[in-house]
């Protein structure tokens, strides 16, 4: 959610039950402003909160003018001091995929994972148990990256693509109409499109290249991994992800208010197919 409309967005996203306490809200309003100034971001998003056993991580992201460019992620333990996280790489994601369980809440905590590695020494093959230390920061980076790639949502029309390539915020976005807001196809993944080129030519002919340049949510696997509800008596559309429980996307139809927040444990719900 945009840091500029933080209070309203938190109010609209409160249907999922978890939000921020007033002191955190106050700290965020101040510190995000400073973050924007210091890092020269064009837009700062408050990404959400990852609940750990000992402490919670508060995550913010900064965007440049091009909305689809790689973002800078920052984390904080008290909503005041923010530290930059390194960008996610595939190695990191692979390395941390073996770590299971909750986050500790302490960024210097290290997970120990024993791996069996085969080392060749001449003709003999030794199997050694190697204990690999994985830092919690690395895990944090990869989880945030996975969540962004999987379930970050933006409504259709909120961004538009200029002919030169960069993607900008659409200042004339008036919101989706009620009938559009109830369809899953009006919401896109807020990441580089992956499935767009797989569409047939017939489908592509109906697309508007300046608005329909992202993947929509309706082809997500497994089908039904999004729960769409109308709250506040039909005045708010809330999309909740079932794959990463804790991610809530809200949009008030016919207005510009939209955004998403993640408040959860940072664990993927692998049991999803059994639960539907």
């Amino acid at each position: 959610m945009d840091a500029e409309s933080l209070l309203l967005s938190l109010e609209l996203a409160s249907g999922s039950g978890q939000g921020l306490s007033p002191d955190r809200r106050a700290s965020l309003l101040t510190s995000l402003m400073l973050v924007k100034r210091d890092y020269r971001f064009d837009r700062v998003l408050f990404w959400g909160r990852i609940l750990g056993l000992v402490g919670d991580y508060y995550i913010a992201q900064g965007l440049s003018e091009d909305q689809l460019a790689p973002r800078k992620t920052l984390y904080s333990l008290n909503c005041m001091e923010w530290s930059l996280l390194p960008p996610a790489t595939e190695e990191m994601v692979a390395q941390t995929s073996v770590v299971k369980g909750r986050f500790m809440g302490d960024p210097s905590h290290e997970y120990e994972h024993t791996e069996v590695q085969k080392t060749n020494e001449g003709e003999k093959v030794f199997e050694e148990d190697v204990v690999v230390q994985i830092k919690e920061e690395t895990r944090l980076v990869s989880v945030i990256d996975q969540i962004d790639k999987a379930v970050a949502v933006i409504p259709r029309g909120a961004l538009f693509k200029t002919p030169f390539g960069p993607v900008h915020v659409n200042r004339t976005f008036e919101g989706l109409s009620l009938s559009e807001a109830k369809k899953l196809s009006s919401y896109f993944h807020f990441r580089e499109p992956v499935q767009l080129k797989n569409k047939t030519l017939l489908e592509k002919a109906d697309l508007d290249p300046s608005l329909d340049f992202l993947d929509s949510l309706e082809h997500d696997i497994p089908k039904g991994s999004w729960s769409m509800q109308m709250e506040r008596g039909n005045a708010l559309v809330v999309l909740r992800s079932l794959l990463w429980p804790g991610l809530t996307f809200f949009h008030a139809p016919r207005t510009k208010n939209c955004g998403y927040i993640y408040v959860g444990t940072g664990e993927k719900n692998i049991d999803l197919p059994f639960m539907l």
Partner: protein, 722 residues
């Protein structure tokens, strides 16, 4: 050609002219023409309404007088252009006059302009009538030498006074206007005799361009011209920053708005209907129920209302970062108040919110007043009994058939495990009744009491709630019930696991008997401790021993108090005594769970992870903070305590946290076949040789038998011979 037009009305006379001239004096004009104007003005009466008619008359008149009308017309048109450039301010956004020709349009126009037009027309007429040949030549030369000479020439004719203000006159044809025609007929000639002037090539090109832009296609009734007009109007009205960068979006929006005009306020917007209906229903919440008694009612309400102080709890939970928003909490409060009015409720508590796929549930935990709930329980039991009676006639028939038929259908020897009876209400897992609704303002539905088998099965499955209470729960092992039962079972499990309070808030009542007599089940009731003084927040956060569970733990059996399933009631003993003794009594161990009011420090760990996390709500102001406890086993369960107050809430999906993946139980192994015995043993039919051998053996045996008999007979026969 007609005569110069005679005025139908008497001229208003010199005062008019003087007025007009005074108005005109504001305009720049050459003075030499002024007196001529005033002279001419007398001849005319120029009511403003008919002014333009006059103008047209005059033009026609002048046209008729002139031999070369077209130059004059061209000149007047060019006068228009000049004039309009000046008059642009008066008329707002004006379109440049692109077309030419006879501007016969009865449009409203400025009073000044009207006067000026007529005055100019009369001026021209007068000049022409005076037959100023040099003037005419000048006109011709002006026409031929179009260009910068115009301003100079125009000043003679007070070109600025001409106005053809607001809209572009149409092409070089006469508008077919009945009002005009009337006037024209008075003049004595018809439009058709008027010569259409030849337009200039440049103006023709402009006309063509505009006509092209005004084209509409079959697909779309909006022409590009109109669209560009709308777009520019919108930009100029809204004045956005940096319009070039959003030009494409504005373009799209303008087009969209044309085809989706805002509905008339007298019509209903079909899309917003459900929203309005919901708002109406919620409005009903805010209306005070019966406004008759006034003060008396207020006192009653204030004194003894079981409705909980939801707003206070919401405030404290908000400090912890949990909650549904303050206005939603208020609506929940009103909905609970409505529930309390509808049902005979003794105590009521907002239990929490369970999220579902399509709708969510708001859950209220209530306790009925004494004796109020029995009526409803009977209704629930009757269908159960009705279901049993059809079975017994079936069995009797089966027995009769048995006697008749020779082949007995093998009866399965599997007997269902004994049904564990559900707990009585007001005890154990059924201590409270639960009501659910989907949205505040919606109707409250009561959930049925939970049975142990439902709890046991609910532990083995993991399913999302859809939001509809009658939805089936499709799972393996099959869940005995609908979503309402599953919901109730999950609520029971969550309550048993996560309802906590600070140590000392509740205490056991006076001892009524030893624990041993109760079969080791422990006490199951507690009461508030009036002497509770509150535990400092820091201590609450530091140690889990300061919190206790105040709901009973649910045993693996599915109940809070253990029941031996093999204890038979009297009826069953009579029927099944023999069978049971044959099978042998299975020993069942009594299940024991942690007793009531156990501290949280005794809770089992989940994979080296403490099951509870404690936090101060605000580290920056510890003196005013609230202690918050969060369950790691049931994510979404929170409890706060501050001073003498505490409260529990659950907001989440309704599932337990499991660090391992969910493994659904495998289907049971295939059942054994019927035990083999000789009656169902398949034997192969004897072959032909075997049959023959058997037959031969039998014959031999017979033969042997006969021979013996014959021998005996012969022996007997021989005897009598002797």
């Amino acid at each position: 050609m007609g005569d110069p037009p005679s005025d139908p009305d008497p001229p208003s006379g010199p005062p008019d002219s003087r007025r007009r001239s005074s108005q005109v004096s504001r305009r720049r004009r050459s003075r030499e023409l002024q007196p001529t104007f005033s002279e001419e003005a007398e001849a005319e009466q120029i009511p403003l309404d008919a002014g333009i008619l006059q103008r047209s008359q005059e033009y026609l008149g002048s046209q008729s007088n002139l031999q070369g009308w077209s130059p004059g017309a061209a000149l007047t048109q060019q006068d228009n252009l000049m004039f309009q450039a000046e008059e642009a301010q008066l008329g707002g956004i004006e379109y440049p006059s692109l077309s030419m020709g006879l501007p016969i349009q009865p449009q409203p126009y400025l009073e000044e302009g009207g006067i000026q037009a007529t005055r100019t027309a009369s001026l021209m007429l007068q000049q022409l009538q005076q037959g100023q040949g040099n003037l005419f030549q000048q006109l011709e030369s002006a026409y031929q030498g179009a260009g910068p000479d115009f301003p100079g020439l125009f000043s003679m004719y007070q070109g600025d006074d001409l106005q053809f203000g607001h809209d572009a006159p149409h092409g070089p044809y006469l508008r077919d206007d009945p009002a005009l025609q009337v006037s024209l007929s008075e003049l004595g000639f018809t439009p058709f005799t008027v010569e259409v002037p030849e337009p200039e090539p440049r103006e023709l090109a402009v006309q063509n361009a505009k006509a092209y832009l005004l084209q509409t296609s079959v697909n779309c009734s909006l022409s590009l011209y109109e669209h560009l007009v709308n777009l520019l109007t919108k930009i100029l009205n809204q004045r956005p920053e940096d319009p070039l960068s959003i030009l494409e979006s504005l373009n799209r929006t303008t087009q969209w708005e044309w085809f989706h005009p805002k509905l008339d306020t007298t019509r209903d917007d079909p899309e917003m209907q459900p929203t309005y209906e919901m708002a109406d229903r919620q409005r009903a919440l805010f209306v005070r129920s019966s406004g008759g008694e006034g003060e008396q009612e207020m006192e009653e309400e204030v004194a003894d209302s079981p409705v909980p102080n939801v707003m206070e709890s919401a405030f404290y939970f908000e400090q912890a970062g949990v909650g549904l928003g303050s206005d939603e909490s208020f609506r929940i409060f009103l909905a609970l108040k409505q529930l309390v009015e509808q049902q005979p409720i003794h105590t009521c508590r907002f239990w929490g919110k369970i999220l579902g796929l399509r709708r969510s549930y708001l859950v209220a935990e209530v306790e009925f007043r004494e004796g109020e709930e029995e009526a409803e329980e009977e209704e629930v039991e009757e269908p159960a009994e009705g279901g049993e009676t059809p079975d017994s006639p079936g069995e009797e028939e089966g027995e009769e058939d048995e006697e008749k038929a020779v082949d007995v259908v093998p009866k399965p020897q599997w007997k269902p495990p004994p049904v564990i009876p559900k707990e009585e209400s007001r005890s154990g897992a059924n201590k409270y009744w639960y009501f659910v609704c989907n949205e505040p303002g919606g109707p409250w539905t009561r959930l049925p009491p939970v049975t142990p088998i439902q709890i046991v099965q609910a532990r083995r499955i993991r399913k999302f709630f859809t939001g509809h209470l009658d939805a089936p729960v499709v799972s393996f092992p099959p869940f005995p019930g609908t979503e309402a039962n599953y919901l109730r079972a999950q609520i029971a499990r969550i309550s048993a696991a996560t309802q906590v309070s600070p140590l000392g808030f509740y205490q056991f009542g006076e001892e009524e008997g030893d624990e041993e007599e109760e079969g080791g089940a422990g006490r199951d009731s507690y009461e508030e401790n009036p002497d509770f003084e509150g535990i400092p927040v820091l201590e609450l956060v530091d140690s889990m021993a300061n919190w206790v569970h105040h709901t009973q733990h649910i045993l693996p059996q599915g109940r809070c108090t253990w029941v031996n399933p093999l204890q038979r009631t009297e009826e069953e003993e009579e029927l099944g005594e023999e069978e049971e003794k044959a099978e042998g009594m299975e020993e069942v161990e009594q299940e024991v769970g942690p007793p009531l009011l156990t501290p949280l420090s005794e809770d089992a760990e989940i994979m080296h992870m403490t099951p509870w996390t404690t936090r101060l709500s605000c580290s920056l102001c510890p003196q005013y903070s609230v202690a918050v406890v969060r369950s790691n086993l049931w994510p979404g369960a929170y409890a706060y305590a501050s001073g003498k107050k505490f409260e529990n809430i659950y907001v989440g999906w309704g599932h337990k946290y499991s660090p391992e993946n969910f493994n659904p139980p495998l289907p049971a192994p295939t059942q054994q076949e019927f035990p083999s015995g000789p009656e169902i043993m398949e034997m192969s039919d004897p072959t032909v040789e075997e049959e023959q051998a058997l037959k031969a053996a039998q014959e031999q045996a017979l033969m042997a038998g006969e021979e013996e008999e014959e021998d005996e007979e012969e022996d007997e026969e021989e005897d009598p011979d002797d």
